[in-house]
Each structure stands twice: as structure tokens, then as C-alpha cells.
């Protein structure tokens, strides 16, 4: 009898396992170095009421990497791998993600930005280059707007400056709304299968923010590279608008590229970004 139950349990678990395995990263994130969980590179810093986890790699000029909404340090493994040979790479788990604490019931982009500015201050970094992906791109832009002395060059991949249907595709808005509702339901049901509090905060962040104006973008002093896939989650028209409102800016739309280009096409992404970081900024014009 016991054996039968055990067998049933094993079969059940196997089926469950199979079901779970349907959900997977659409890109390979197997790295030799355990990015995001690397005791040799990781440290905690107590700032703004949380323990913020970050890792540092390499030597040279400082380069801050900022991951996206549902990600953590490991999602930018390809960027750590490539840039740590050239820069001192600093990459945190943003508040509520990875090993960093959430400790808020109203997560904002400004708060995350403030965390990262304090991280840079604590590390004694006056200013640095920034590569931000998705939410990380928004935070990169906010650093450029609100802390202009902190940023040298900014690369914002798949970033939006507001959150309506002129910025995001309908399926993105729908996905965020549904996920937020689901998280709220799970919290009220006291479900503990996932950290619904964090999921709710993440989804609310994307659902209700950011609210960066074009006038805000005008304030950015750093040279910026706006990057997007030609089938991004962000409307291509919105990426064009962001580009047009930053004084020193270049725009790169990747043919056949997606919102996930940094992990799907890492070589192409990294090389182009490095070219932007390394070279002098120029903005040639067709006008004759």
C-alpha cells in the first residue's frame, strides 16, 4: 500500500515536474561563474532600509549594469562576462529581486534609483557608465535626469518613459494587468507558493509607472544610446520619441531583435554597446 502511494507520488511529481519544465528561459543562462550567487564577488550593503546585494567583477573604469523587472544579476550574465574584461563591473540585485530585500509596500523607480546612487556613493564612485535593460533602462534614464553628475554614458535597452498604450503593446499591458490581479488574489488567499508580495510590487511598478516627461528627458546631459528590438515589448514609435527628446542621443533598432536581445543576441548587443561606450560621442546629420 505504502509503495503504491509512493509510486503514485513519484508519478505525480514527475508529471508536475514536466508541467513546470514547460516554463523556461527563452535563452540559455548557463555560465561558468555563478553570477548572482557568487560568494567571491558578492556583498551586502545596508542602505535605504534594506540589505542590497551586489557583485563586482574586473578592473578599470566603473560600469553599472541594471537588470530588468523580472530578472536579477544572472540575467545580465552575458554582459558581465563580456565587460568584466574591460571595466570594473558593478551589478546589484534591485530591491525585492535576487538576494536584495524588498521592505516596501509601494515600490517605485525613483526608490530603486536612489538605492543605486547610494550604492555608487558608498563604493566611492563619482560617476560611471550605465547599461540598463528594460526596467534597468528606465532607472538608467532616471539616473541621468536626477543625478546628472553620476552618469557618464547611458545605454537604455527596451526602456519606456510612460506606461500607456502609446508606449507599450496591448499584450504587454494586458499581461501586466492580469499578473497584478493574480498576485493580489493570491495575497488575499494567503497563498505561499510564491513570493506574491514581490510579484505584486513588480507588476504594480510596471502597471502604474514610470511617469517621466519629455521635459525630464531634455535634462539628461550624458550621451545616451537608446536600443530596442524591431519587435520589442516597447512600441518602436515610443523608442523613437525617447531618442528625439534626449539632447545627446543615438538610436539603435535591431532588425529581427526582441526585448530580450542582451541575452538572445549577446555578441551583437555587447559589441555595439562597447563601441558606443568606447568611442567619442558623435551625432552626424544628413542635413546639407
Amino acid at each position: 500500500m505504502k509503495t503504491k502511494i509512493l509510486t503514485g507520488l513519484i508519478i505525480g511529481l514527475t508529471i508536475l515536474n514536466l508541467k513546470c519544465s514547460i516554463a523556461q528561459h527563452p535563452f540559455n543562462l548557463d555560465f561558468k561563474i555563478p553570477y548572482g550567487d557568487n560568494q567571491e564577488a558578492g556583498k551586502y550593503l545596508n542602505i535605504n532600509g534594506i540589505n542590497l546585494y551586489y557583485e563586482t567583477y574586473g578592473k578599470g573604469e566603473p560600469l553599472l549594469l541594471i537588470h530588468g523587472n523580472g530578472g536579477s544579476i544572472i540575467n545580465m550574465g552575458y554582459q558581465i562576462e563580456y565587460f568584466s574584461n574591460k571595466y570594473k563591473v558593478i551589478i546589484p540585485d534591485c530591491r525585492g529581486r535576487g538576494k536584495s530585500e524588498l521592505n516596501t509596500d509601494s515600490l517605485t523607480y525613483e526608490q530603486i534609483t536612489s538605492d543605486l546612487i547610494m550604492l555608487l556613493d558608498t563604493l566611492g564612485i563619482d560617476s560611471c557608465d550605465v547599461i540598463g535593460w528594460s526596467d534597468g533602462g528606465i532607472i538608467g534614464l532616471l539616473m541621468g535626469i536626477n543625478h546628472p553628475n553620476k552618469t557618464k554614458k547611458i545605454i537604455a535597452m527596451g526602456a519606456n518613459v510612460w506606461h500607456d498604450s502609446t508606449a507599450l503593446y496591448p499584450w504587454v499591458i494586458e499581461w501586466i494587468k492580469t499578473s497584478k490581479q493574480e498576485a493580489a488574489k493570491m495575497i488575499s488567499n494567503h497563498d505561499t507558493s510564491k513570493d506574491w508580495q514581490v510579484i505584486y510590487q513588480r507588476m504594480a511598478l510596471m502597471n502604474d509607472q514610470p511617469d517621466i516627461t519629455l521635459t525630464d528627458l531634455h535634462k539628461i546631459k550624458s550621451p545616451v544610446l537608446i536600443v530596442a528590438g524591431d519587435k520589442d515589448a516597447i512600441r518602436e514609435e515610443h523608442s523613437v520619441l525617447i531618442y528625439q527628446n534626449i539632447p545627446k542621443c543615438q538610436l539603435w533598432i535591431i532588425p529581427g531583435g526582441t526585448h530580450f536581445a542582451p541575452a538572445v543576441q549577446p555578441e551583437l548587443f555587447n559589441e555595439k554597446v562597447y563601441r558606443f561606450l568606447r568611442g567619442p560621442f558623435s551625432r552626424p546629420d544628413s542635413r546639407f
Binding site: 516554463a23 523556461q24 527563452p26 499584450w171 499581461w175 492580469t178 543615438q250 535591431i254 551625432r283
Partner: protein
Amino acid sequence: MRNLTLKPPFLLLFSLILICLHGQETSYADSVIPYGNNPSAGHYAQVNGIKMYYEIYGQGEPVVCIHAGGGSVADCTPQIKYFSQHYKVIAADSRGQGKSELNTDFLTYRQIADDWAELLNQLQVDSACVEGYSDGGIIGLLLAVHHPAKVKKLAAMGANIQSDTLAYYPWLLEFLEKLLPYAETKIKENDTTDNWQQYEKLAYMWKVNPIISVEELHKIKCPVLILGGDRDVVRLEHLVHIYRNIPFAQLCIFPGETHFISWFDSVLYNSTINKFFREPFKINDSKLLLEKWYGFELK
């Protein structure tokens, strides 16, 4: 008489004269082949009532290079050099330009596109990968709309489908406004410092053309790569608009580049297009990747 501020007057829109002058030392010096004026590669075809000049280089799958307005085969030099290593490159002078006859009162893009289709017929090219630059891109789009069998894949750089404020920046429209009366004046004055007859025809075409509707774009069956510099003469919104309305399209905006990338960064330009020609076409959608990530279908 209006005071014209065209300076210098020979600096025409879409004409690569400036670039040819600049690029001559570096670009032509290492090129012993006089592209655009090469008797050993050049031929004439009798097409739609004109003699149309074309040159052929290399072997393999056919690649068609269509030059910008006011230009000629010579403007395709960086592309011919690159693509002829792997493909059979067909480059021609569009009607009324280079060595090809005009024989019409009004140039239109449609007419030029029909000429190209007929040239390909005569060369027994069933279908080809087409690279079109500026006016060449417009002609490429019209080839894909009206002669779909002829175009396997199309790479259209800095192309527009209308010539208004939605497509162009104000400075360019202003320039186009002045160009036609300027050319007409020069003709009246019997000025022979430049080919004003040709510019008059082109200026008129640029002013009133192209008029390609989104419905026409919807008809395009082949994969299309829409390209532009982030500081092109064509508005980025317009390039996105064209991209949006072609069923199988990719969009490439080059950072820190102008309308003139085919000369100034020909390596990047050519290799981007070659990748598009070579690789099987697919649209990679963020939505599908996110679904894979989360393991469920999104609405």
C-alpha cells in the same frame, strides 16, 4: 525673383555627388574598376522606349543594386565590390540618369520601377534580392508591390512613401520647394555648368512623388528590411510607419548614422544587408519569448 539659398547649387538631394567627391580618394583609389563607366561590364538594353544602361559583376544568385536619385551605377561602388564576391550583381542607371535615356516629360518612380522589371525580364532573372538606396529604396518597394515575382527579398535604405511633412524634415521640404524653380531658371539662362534638364525632371518627381499607399505596402509578399540612419533625411516615424505596414518586415535603425551610410560605413551597411539576404527570414517576437519564459499564452 526669389533669393535662392541653395549653396552650392550642385548639391542635390539624394545625389551622392558630394560623397563621390569626398570619397573619391579613399573609395575609388583602391578600385581599378571604373564602376558605372566600365565598357567590359556595361551593356544597353532596349526597355520601355529607352536605352537603359546596366553593368553586371560576379557570379551566383542575383543581387540588384538600385542607386539613389540623381546618381548612377558608380554610386553603388561599395555595394558592387562587396556583393560581387558572392553574388551576380546587376546594377543599372535608372531612366534619365547616368547613361540611360530619359524619353519622357515627367519622370515617375512607377515608370522607373517598370523599367527595372523589364530589364530583369530581358536578363532572364526570375527573381532577385534587391538592395535599393534612397530613391532606389522607393523603386525597390514599387517593384515588390507591382512586380512581386521579381523580388525575392528587398532591403530598402532611407526610403519614403510620400513627400510631405510626415515623411521629411522641414529643411528638406524647403530645399525641394526651391529646387524646381532653381533648375528651371538655370535652363532659361542656358547654364551648362550642370545637367539642369535632368535635375528639373528629378526635382519635379521628388516634389510630387512618391505616392505609395499603405494598402499597396500590405500587398508586398516578400521579406523586406527597412533601413535608416538615426539622423536620416527621412523621419524615423515614417520609417517605422513603412515597416509597420509591410507584412514580413524587419526594421534596422543604425545609431550615429546618416542617410549616407552606404558610403560612410559601407562595411556595416553591406554586412547587415548580406545577413538579411543570406539567413532565412523570421520575425522574432518579444511576446513569444515572454510566453516561453512564463510557460503560458498571453492574450
